[in-house]
Every structure is written in C-alpha cells, then in structure tokens.
C-alpha cells in the first residue's frame, strides 16, 4: 500500500491490539501508524478503566489491559449534552444528579471494550474513542487476546501457511480419491478375473472327475445323471452341461436313456 505524505491511507479493518503493541510502535507514515508492518487506524482494545477524567470537550480514560497503560479520549458530542453512547440509554431513566455521577464514573474499575482511532498528533500517539462498552461476558477478554495473538502472527509470519496446508491437504485428498477409484476398479477386474479363473479351474476338476466316474462304470446301462450328481456333489444341471460336452466330444454315449452314460474308451 503506497502512501504520500498525508492521510491518503484508508484502512477499513479493525485491528485487535494490546496496549504494549501500541506503545512499541514507532513506524508511521503521515498520520497513520504501522504495527507489524501493516497500517492500523481503527483499533480494538480490551482492558480495565483505572482512571476517568471528565473534561469539557472530552472524557479521558486511562486503560490498563495487563500489557501497559494508555490514555484514550472520548470526545463529547456537544457541550450541552455531555453524554456517551452507553450513558444515554441509562441516563434517560434517571435524574440530573445521577446523570452527572455516571459521567464521572461510568466504567471505573470495570473491564471495557474500546474501539477507536490511533493517530499521530503533534508527534505523539493519540487514541480517540469511537465506542466504549462495558464487558458483560468475560470470555470476551480471552477472545480479544487470542485475536490479537492471531493477527500478530498472521502479520509477522504470514497467513499463507495454514491456507496453503489446507489447499495442499485438499489436493492430496483428491489424489487419494482418484487412486482409490483406480484401485477399486483394478480390484473389481481382478476379482472378476480370479472368479472366472476359479470357476474355470473348478469346472475342469469337475469335468475330470465326471469323466473318470463314467469311465470306471463297466455296467451295460452305464452311470446315471443322478449318480453323477450325487458323487460329484453338483446339481443335475451342472452335470447335464458336463455330459453334453463329453457327448459332443464323443467321449461318452447314452445307453438306455438320455440320463445314462458310458465312456467310449
């Protein structure tokens, strides 16, 4: 992102930061600060309010987030109506006296989330608050610091590794699926082949046995289909196929009927 000398940089993101990061940042271009080599304008902080100073045009909060302390300013809308966003909701229900109390101590000693603008003003860091809200779900404290760590790591070590890994993973997954498909096809083919082979082999064995049985029968009526079926433990249909084959070959002949056979040898 190139920049001239003044405020041509527009950053539309809100960066979660620790106060330490703000304290350590020295790099700036124009009025915009750079933290972890990226321009930051809108910043979110989470910390406790340790001091409130109410002035005419703004309220100064001193925030401590465990990493450092920072003075932030919330400018008042106009001199007559000296109320912050949050206070407006509460203040409407209460009297004047209570309103001024709230202005003095609205967030004191409480955890707050602050969204604001980090700028350089007269060579010093200035943080102007856009929004300050009390934290009611304390898990937001934890998540804020986790987000700050995440963004810090992404900006210093790069976002790509995880995304690259993810895309590599999905590439590898796709390849694996392809390989599996091929393997399955091969397996199926192999299975078919092996089944065919087995059938062929078994078929040959059965035929041999059938022929031997027929040959060994010396009676004039020969061996019957039923006997063959029984001896070979096969169905009559299977035996029928076998004997038809041998009949065609001329190795056996029928005797008293077409269910009795003798070998021609």
């Amino acid at each position: 992102m190139t920049n001239n000398s003044n405020e041509n940089v527009i950053v539309r993101t809100i960066t979660p930061l620790t106060i330490r990061q703000i304290q350590l940042s020295t790099e700036s271009e124009g009025n915009t600060f750079k933290i972890d080599k990226e321009f930051v304008m809108n910043v979110s902080l989470v910390g406790t309010v340790i001091k409130v100073l109410d002035g005419n045009t703004y309220t100064n909060y001193t925030i401590d987030d465990g990493t450092g302390q920072l003075n932030v300013r919330k400018f008042k809308r106009n001199k007559q109506n000296n109320m912050d966003d949050q206070e407006e909701q509460e203040g409407q229900e209460e009297g004047e006296k209570k309103k001024s109390e709230q202005i003095e101590n609205p967030f004191e000693n409480k955890y707050v989330r602050i969204i604001g603008n980090l700028k350089e003003y007269k060579n010093q860091k200035s943080f102007s608050v856009t929004k300050i809200t009390e934290i009611t779900d304390s898990n937001q404290i934890t998540t804020h610091f986790l987000e700050a760590i995440l963004v810090h790591m992404q900006r210093t070590k790069g976002i790509l590794k995880k995304e690259q890994a993810t895309s590599q993973e999905s590439q590898i997954k796709e390849e694996k699926i392809e390989i599996q498909k091929e393997t399955n096809n091969n397996n199926n083919n192999n299975n078919i082949i092996s089944q065919q082979n087995t059938t062929q082999i078994l078929g040959l064995a059965l035929k041999d046995k059938a022929l031997r049985l027929i040959s060994s029968n010396q009676t004039s009526s020969g061996i019957s289909l039923q006997e063959l079926s029984k001896e070979l433990k096969s169905t009559e249909e299977e035996i029928r196929e076998i004997v038809d084959f041998f009949l065609d070959q001329g190795q056996i002949y029928i005797t008293i009927d077409d269910e009795h056979f003798r070998s021609t040898d």
């Binding site: 330490r20 465990g66 610091f145 760590i149």
Partner: protein
C-alpha cells in the same frame, strides 16, 4: 520498563516473584483475611486480601491483581468475571501469550 501486569496461571508464578500480576480463578475457601483461589490450571493460590477487605468478590470467578511474594498474592484489586467464564480457553490463551511475550510485556 513497561507497566505490564501480566496475566498468568499457577505454573508461571515462579517466574514472577515480587512482581505485580493478574491471575484468574474460582473463589474458594475463606481463611480470615485470606481466600483460596483455584486457578485455571488447577493450582491453588492464597490471596491475602488485607489491603482490599472493604470490597467483596461478587462472582464465583474473579481476576485478582496483586503482588506475588513468598507464596502469597497480596491483592491490590480484583475484577468480577461472568459465571460462564471458560477456564480452559483462558488457560490456553495464557500459554500462548507466554510464547508471544513481545506483545504482552
């Protein structure tokens, strides 16, 4: 020197002898001016509340800010935390923050 008051748990206490730290825990037994705090990594810390007795813990989970000395945490102040506070995630955040001390202290 930075004015950091790092968030830690039981196992990092030895690194912060004499320092001001923040520690989150479940409020346990009261023993006179002391309270036992059960930390996010299942440790037990004795909190000496003598300097802050007028304020009472209002929730079951609190973050205590104090000085760690001689196996006791001398409380300076505390913050009430919501009942749904996730100890486990907070504990992991502390471990991560210790790996990235450059942005925390």
């Amino acid at each position: 020197m930075s004015s950091a008051t790092p968030r830690i748990n039981f196992k990092y206490l030895s690194e912060f002898e004499g320092k001001t730290i923040r520690i989150v825990g479940k409020v346990g037994e009261k023993q006179g001016n002391n309270v036992i705090l059960h930390t996010t990594d299942n440790g037990q810390v004795i909190v000496d509340r003598s300097n802050n007795l007028e304020k009472n813990y209002q929730t079951n989970n609190v973050e205590v800010l104090g000085v760690w000395n001689n196996n006791q945490l001398s409380e300076l102040t505390f913050f009430n935390l919501s009942d749904n506070f996730d100890f486990d995630t907070h504990n992991q955040m502390i471990d991560l923050s210790m790996k990235h001390k450059e942005i925390f202290m």
